[in-house]
Symmetry: D2
Subunit: 341 residues, 4 copies
């Protein structure tokens, strides 16, 4: 059995795990005040080219989205998102649990258009009854999107411009940022993201860590009493070193980028195999997730030997499946898959 | 200056006010335990043809929607609504404040289609990852809708069938129910609504009361400790008699229906005037709200002498306006308007 | 049957009701944007001697407490209250529903001591682990307290000083403010309260209105987007005129103070009767609530003809009862009671 | 520098870490559906002597408390806790964030008395106005308490009896359960706890894991849709194996108990050293936390070489400090400390 089910099927990248082993016996302060959180934050700031950034670590993606958005929004504000955004579709209502509405817009491959965002904002303020409505207070994007697509630098710039014009922050969900940064088809760097977003996070869970996301506030805009706020939300780990040590490893000698590159390279090979074998792709992805369309019989047969995620049924007989590569995917896995298809 | 701005531009219907005057000096228990709340509940149950119904009074529409929905849903559930539903569009995020997501569907004149609801439910349960999503736990409809449209008895029945099949309640927002019941173009009675909905409310604020909505639970399904729950939400009035006395008047000698008829009759006349004068209607409404399309110049001129609500701009030069009649609208108001147009 | 059960046993003071009658047919804007809300606000600002104050109207006490506190606190803050404070003891957890903790202190007759508040604040900031605790962000007091007691001007000043030193607002729950202001034993005026509190409310429901509380922000410190925030909490009345007109009447020709005086004068007479008849008082109250101690037999006998509130059992055979006067209490009620005792 | 600052100063127990290493490359399902969560649950059920128990894993203590309490309470209920309970004192308002009030009672060494709980419940239901109050819906205890004290089996039984009589669950916070179970002065076993509590958790973070708490529902009383509920609260880890593998190790060959014994044995030695050196103890603890009283000068001197937690100031010159042992504490640490004192 081989697995392309997700990018969280295995444990930590060996170098990440090694850092946990190496530091295990050291006495460190709790609650994220350890040396490794500090060191990881410095390394991330350097990688972002932003010495003034503020970096904080949280355990998982949904937790991070809910915390970043709910601590940065005013209570009368909601967040703009693509209707397929992870916060809207697959977080079990975590944002509404925190009291905030999601204001949805149509999407293309999971991406928002700056023009649509601008229209929403303009229409809101032009509406004579907007005091009865939820204020749009932030823009949420995911990069890569839930469909593996990427914003171009120009697209990000346009979104940042709209946000700037309306004085609301641009927040990027980078749960799979590694795979976006190392895509064969992107002009967006980590520095670009740091410049264009007000806050974003660098996903660890799906890129080689056991758990952990690194939130980067780019304009000294971290909400006051951050530790207290995350404690209130049950997100403060006593042994914060678990997150710090892992990110310290991920940002040593470019490991985070190396992990991204490995998975993206294999995903491109996976795409070639699928195309060669005559499968159609639901969309053209340049990141670590590929979305072939399989007929029902093939799907059933394949699932006996290959774990994949059933994305959605296109019709009664055809389904989109998601196949993901990750740090632990090997050429051997691809060879086996090729033989099976 | 005449006003068709809304159906809450004047105070209470004289008979409602008179009941407040008549009962003012009586000593009554607080918190809705007074004789008038009890009496009004009995009268409403009789009007609904449902002796087992449970009737409770609240002060306003947004409050009622948020309370009914959030006390009937499980915490992991959201509510299905048209994307134009009042709870989604114009309640400032009151439902998200209560921790619940709204699951939106496309609409026609503000109405949901039973088929769309069924598809949403079916798709949800078929989705392998639905444990990561918000459970659809209730269907919210407004009758009349925010656009003045009405469900037919057949349409309601179909919605009720879907809800029954999935064991979720059907909730009707009847903020303007008086105008729906007395429409010239409806086959739906109060008894039908009682039979088909699991819970609904009879709007008072917009139909002759100073404030107040009467919630009707039709299947002994009132949430436990109702008083405590509404107190927790700040909605328990010390002098609950204010609500009870008004509804007692509204449901004496058919006043509620009389108020509805008066406004609907005048709205039909208003529609005739608009059509005769050559105005187009954004949609064909048979309730107390009419939605003519005005060009910018006309709108500006009209607004100097007639209060209306600007609904939305169709394009740069044409706007939809809402004109509402209510218990205090007179033939004289219509005559004046006709002269102005 | 006569009733001293509470100060919300009857409807509105006749002059308040008359204002509703007189203004009933006028066309007014909705949502508190009517002329009467504006006029009432002006009159209240004049009575407070504070032209810069911001005045807003809400429907009831629990609603007002929850809204004022939750909109003025930061999310990481809680509110300091006496352990007998209404928000702590009798509001069904409305403040926790809004996400905030109440930090309780011991009390005397329902009053907080400035010294205790200062100690709590000092201890909090001295605690090395206070980032794991709820920040004290406001002081809540009720005046009169739930036991009918009053702060002296000096005591209020001391509380205001502590609040000033720690830059947190002092909030006074004035649900029964009329009776505090007109007590025979107070040196605190409405102007004093305006000067010393950052926000307070003037209770209407328990002092002659059908419903309504007037919130006074004394330092231009009303939370941004107030209308939106109260809409989100279900507290925005479509016919806000209901609140405006009543307060407009209450603050015309000193009616609010007249109502307070009437009830307090009768309460003093009630106290005299109780003492003459040999009853002990649980505490010495100078406001409209008296708290005699009755033995079980007397209590049972009395309750057949006089409605009172059972406050608490002191022991198996003796109970504290609350007897309240209000605008509609008459000398005749007292005479009847005297005859019964 | 040696550290007795807390029981979360070092990483994972070597055997726990080894399990993470050994399982790192295995492909496992996400979201807690992996083999190790299943295996750990089985082992815990066996250790509890309760094959019907339901076991779930969460990342940290505050998260676990907030989730267990808020998913088991009805919305109109609060939780009874000692005023020193962790949920009340040191969780930044996490429970209020979830909308629930904590109903506090006095404590002794952090313990609740069954009699006090019974009185609270009895008084609540006897109060004629209890519909305006928060329903007591659960009892929360910590074992060991925040002061290192332990309930006797008899005391637990009495608490369980009260809960049974009022049909509310008894919940034990076992963040430091290892040290309670292995105390030299306890008659309470894991099986006893399983029999007497409706739900409790076995703390991992403070007993040898990097993170993780194992929640045990003893009466098939796990809230419906548990995964969805914890996802909504941001607590669902994609790589749930991180928790499962650690608990699988902790419950293999009695490691959890061994860790507890090691720390308790050293804590008893620590106590002996303190007493021999003439220090007074704030209270007599038989678990892994000791609370000596130090004068200011000693405290300052000690802190230069030994990390301890300042618990509270008794007066200007004397402080209570907390000294904790854990799996990584050594005899050498004690020897060094003895030399320093």
């Amino acid at each position: 059995m081989i697995s392309f089910e997700s990018d969280y099927i295995t444990g930590a990248h060996p170098k990440v795990l090694q850092r946990l082993i190496d530091t295990n016996l050291e006495v460190q302060s709790g609650y994220g005040l350890d040396e490794y959180c500090a060191s990881a934050a410095e390394k991330i700031k350097a990688a972002c080219g932003c010495p003034d950034a503020q970096v904080q670590f949280l355990a998982g993606g949904t937790q991070t989205n809910a915390i970043v958005i709910s601590t940065m929004l005013q209570e009368f504000e909601g967040v703009i998102s693509a209707e397929t955004g992870h916060i809207q579709a697959h977080e079990a209502g975590a944002l509404e649990y925190a009291g905030h509405k999601i204001l949805t817009l149509p999407q293309q491959q999971g991406k928002l258009k700056a023009e649509d965002v601008r229209t929403l904002l303009k229409t809101f303020y032009a509406d004579e009854s907007h005091e009865h409505m939820v204020y749009p207070g932030m823009v949420y994007i995911s990069h890569p999107t839930e469909y593996g697509a990427l914003y171009s630098k120009q697209e990000l710039k346009e979104l940042a411009d709209v946000c700037y014009d309306y004085s609301i922050p641009l927040f990027m969900d980078g749960a799979r940022l590694a795979y976006g940064l190392m895509s064969h088809n992107t002009d967006v760097t980590l520095q670009d993201i740091t410049e264009l977003c007000d806050v974003f996070y660098i996903g660890g869970t799906k890129a080689g860590a056991l758990c952990g996301e690194a939130v980067v506030f780019t304009h000294k805009n971290i909400p006051a009493h951050w530790m207290n706020r995350i404690k209130k939300r049950g997100a403060l780990l006593a042994k914060g070193r678990l997150l710090g040590a892992q990110f310290d490893a991920l940002f040593t000698d470019g490991l985070y980028f190396e992990i991204g590159k490995h998975a993206v390279d294999l995903a491109e090979k996976l795409k070639s195999i699928l195309l060669q074998k005559g499968y159609k792709l639901y969309m053209d992805s340049y990141t670590n997730q590929q979305f072939p369309i399989l007929d029902k019989a093939t799907l059933e047969r394949l699932r006996r030997e290959v774990a994949v995620t059933l994305w959605e049924w296109l019709d009664k007989d055809h389904a989109v499946v998601r196949m993901a590569t990750t740090w632990s995917t090997t050429q051997e896995d691809l060879d086996k898959l090729e033989a099976l298809l």
